[in-house]
Symmetry: C2
Subunit: 141 residues, 2 copies
């Protein structure tokens, strides 16, 4: 009766499937933008009215540990979560509506090599986010 790939993964990791986890999972799966714990709580309570905020925190923690969601950093506040993409992806964020797009873009190897040589660092990972305006927000006033 588990029809959802994220719930399958939770189950495979030894966790139980509950109404609370269903609600949080579905909210995160369907959101176009990164959500804070309170926003997840508000949205998920429409699916499970008894849900508590504490359970939202606990569920987000598990989804993050399983790599199903990721933390998104804005200039201040870094407590917003977004579904994660497949493999390594970068983020493109609309500054107006906060919509988030994942994209691949590993044309960066030459840069890493140059920086590695100049600094002596062994570069192991990186983090790239682009900010701008999505099409809809460019056109509406």
């Amino acid at each position: 009766m588990v029809d959802n790939p994220w719930l399958e993964q939770l189950q495979a990791a030894g966790y139980r499937i509950t109404a609370a986890r269903r609600a949080v999972t579905e909210v995160m799966q369907s959101s176009e933008r990164a959500l804070t714990p309170i926003e997840v709580y508000d949205a998920a309570r429409k699916r499970d009215r008894r849900l508590g905020l504490v359970t939202v925190y606990r569920t987000l923690e598990k989804l993050e540990a399983l790599g199903l969601i990721q933390r998104v950093h804005h200039e201040h506040s870094c407590q917003a979560f977004l579904r994660a993409g497949e493999g390594h992806q970068h983020l493109l964020l609309c500054e107006r509506c906060r919509r988030a797009i994942l994209f691949e873009g590993d044309d960066l190897d030459a840069l890493f090599e140059r920086v590695g040589e100049e600094t002596g660092f062994e570069i192991r990972s990186h983090w790239l986010q682009l900010y701008g305006l999505c099409w809809d927000c460019q056109t509406d006033s």
Copy 2:
């Protein structure tokens, strides 16, 4: 009697030069790595024993507003501050000793153009951080 460029900038912006601001400023100027408010407090109290944590917060806020320091985001916690570089720079962070290096690297225009075309976004800014091991941390065990 103001011999320090950051203090001069604070003064030029209309702020007074105090022992507390001297201490925080000197700590931030001399740190090789991003420091949290508590770390700044601990270090700055060695220069001004009466310093309070609240004043550290207030001073960091002013230094950030003047563009002298910047906020550094790590995977969790995003409340660490580092002296800012000149113009637009990217960060290279050692995962072991947390040393931070600023570098320039704007070979990214082709990528932005491609992503802009594919997504319809108007890209306005970006944010790149590299993580790895600095030379010292590669060699010590």
